[in-house]
């Protein structure tokens, strides 16, 4: 029976690991805005407010327009919102199905997201900082992990 103990410990450890959220890298993820937006930057609270659907008002009084590229969701949700994908999905389903507001529009590629950010007034989205190099129509408003 004694020989079972390490096996049990290993199983317990595996179970504990399975219960833990997967570590996802947030390295270099930023919240960017359309360059015509009148805001200079955003703090973590404003980012949470926007992407959990609590308010769409930007600090200059304009209304944010949100979009997302889903492969970036997990890292952003975990590090910036402090929520799992399921929690964020549930929060938006409450807003959507009670007729309050729709979740950020989902775009099909990172390139489409960058195009959309550059061409949409008051656009706000999260994406890797490296994808924005040399793009004058998009501005970084918040670096995640700040």
């Amino acid at each position: 029976m004694r020989s079972d103990a390490p096996d049990l410990r290993r199983r317990t450890l595996l179970l504990a690991l399975a219960l833990l959220p997967l570590p996802v890298r947030s390295e270099g993820l930023v919240v960017a805005v359309n360059a015509s937006t009148g805001i200079s930057g955003m703090d973590a609270r404003e980012v949470r407010k926007l992407f959990l659907g609590k308010s769409r008002r930007l600090s200059d009084g304009s209304t944010a327009v949100l979009a997302r590229y889903s492969p970036l969701d997990s890292a952003f949700n975990r590090h910036s919102l402090g929520r799992s994908d399921a929690q964020v999905g549930a929060a938006w389903s409450r807003l959507r199905f009670s007729g309050r507001s729709l979740p950020p529009e989902e775009l099909s590629s990172l390139a489409a997201l960058i195009d959309w950010l550059g061409g949409t007034p008051n656009a706000v989205a999260y994406l890797p900082a490296s994808a924005l190099e040399g793009n004058a129509s998009v501005r970084v408003a918040h670096a995640i992990g700040d």
Binding site: A18, R57, S93, G99, E105
Partner: protein
């Protein structure tokens, strides 16, 4: 103008004829229960959709987004003669198990119309109070949002008396399988034909919300017709960090009628002239449009890895219906994809015993029966544990065990053999499993 070229609705779905130009009403293709095709409320969602499509066509590309939610749920009680029902539905869960208690599906269309206007229509199919699965429009409204802090809506919307009234049907949006029935049965009406104004404000780090809604509603539950006129609700919501507080005050003029109410009125009218002790009972039944007040105070704290919430509600009403207090509390922990959860609730009739004794004459026995039924005290207590497992994106599996007890008549407890209430003191353990999806 917002560029929304990514989401585009087909002008026709699957090559079917355009429903706006075809004169066939929705009611002929879907079984719309509790809603006669000649009533204007039936045509409301279709009319709104057509208005939306027309307005879109007039000045920009259509931007319609379709989405939906569903729950496949199975539940059973451990009591061979009892059945657990919810929301006035004619069928629920008995000892042999049933999919009828929690299973439902909803589809929604959101149309942006330009000029800060939008339209939303949501249809839901689930077990209804007539014993059939019926499709009804839970939401069907036009909204004008001149500013991101102001929204004005008109049409069909939820009756927002309690904290999760707006989304209690959406399984994925909630941690437990079912919201506490004791609490939500205090006002069985769930929808309003109404107009409302919502305002948002921010002071420091606190977000404030104010909603004022006015409208009317009606429905039949357990053989009683509810007609709520001049419904008015004021809701204040404050959110600060992880904490949230919600206060709601609703009032309406409620007319309750059931088969035999005229006989009760006539019988009591005569009997009260002989026995002054029956005057209060006569007065209780002899009135329509009774002023009814619902009050709710709720709060939650959700820092992310755990959460707790609670709500206290009460109903104050004149006439034969009871004054009621109710509360519910719950707490949960989020362990990766798993959320274990505990919940407790209670519903209590706070009136004194109002039962009356008529002279023991054979011809008064039916009247005595109706009076006893109307003055029956209702109550319910529940305690349960639940586990939610977010197994894949937009899919949650849940299991829930709940003990539901009553001292008098349980609000959710019926005899499984017929439509009457389970006897006093019945208590059951309710087991349920479900799968919730978003699409």
């Amino acid at each position: 103008m917002t560029r929304r070229t990514h989401v585009r609705a087909p002008a026709r779905i699957g090559g079917r004829p355009d429903p706006c130009t075809t004169s066939i009403p929705f009611a002929t293709t879907f079984p719309v229960t509790g809603c006669h095709p000649s009533r204007s409320t039936c045509r409301l969602p279709l009319a709104l959709l057509c208005a939306a499509a027309g307005a879109v066509a007039a000045h920009e590309r259509p931007s319609v987004v379709f989405s939906g939610f569903g729950t496949l749920g199975y539940a059973a009680v451990d009591h061979s003669e009892a059945e657990y029902r919810t929301g006035g539905a004619r069928d629920g869960a008995d000892a042999s198990g049933s999919f009828e208690l929690d299973t439902r599906i909803g589809v929604q269309a959101d149309a942006a119309l330009g000029h800060a206007l939008s339209a939303t229509v949501q249809l839901q199919a689930r077990e209804r109070s007539d014993g059939d699965v019926g499709v009804e429009a839970e939401w069907a409204f036009l909204r004008w949002r001149p500013d991101d802090r102001v929204a004005i809506r008109a049409g069909r919307m939820s009756l927002p008396a309690f904290a999760i009234s707006d989304y209690r049907s959406v399984g994925y949006a909630n941690v437990p399988i079912r919201s506490p029935d004791g609490l939500y049965s205090i006002i069985p009406l769930e929808r309003l034909d109404a107009a409302d104004v919502s305002l948002e404000a921010q002071t420091g780090d606190t977000l404030w919300g104010l909603q004022v809604v006015a409208g009317r509603s009606s429905g039949n539950f357990d053989g009683t017709d509810f007609d709520a006129r001049d419904f008015l609700a004021v809701i204040v919501d404050a959110e600060h960090g992880s904490a949230r507080l919600r206060l709601a005050h609703s009032r309406t003029d409620l007319t309750l009628t059931f088969e035999g109410i005229e006989a009760v009125r006539q019988g009591l009218g005569v009997a009260a002239t002989f026995d002054p002790g029956l005057v209060p009972a006569r007065d209780d039944f002899d009135r329509d449009r009774v002023r009814t007040i619902f009050e709710a105070i709720g709060g939650s704290y959700d820092p992310g890895h755990w959460f707790v919430d609670g709500e206290y509600v009460r109903r104050r009403i004149d006439g034969f219906a009871a004054n009621v207090d109710g509360w519910a509390v719950s707490a949960g922990w989020r362990l990766g994809a798993f959320t274990p959860y505990a919940l407790a609730s209670a519903y209590r009739d706070v009136d004194p015993d109002r039962r009356v004794q008529l002279p023991p004459l054979e011809q008064l026995a039916p009247l005595q029966g109706l009076l006893d039924g109307a003055y029956t005290k209702q109550d319910q207590r529940s305690f349960g544990v639940s586990l939610r497992w977010d197994v894949a994106p937009n899919i949650a599996l849940k299991s829930q065990v709940e003990h539901v007890a009553s001292r008098f008549t349980g609000v959710s407890l019926y005899r499984s053999s017929d439509d009457t209430r389970a006897p006093s003191g019945t208590d059951v353990t309710l087991l349920a499993i479900s799968m919730d999806v978003l699409f």
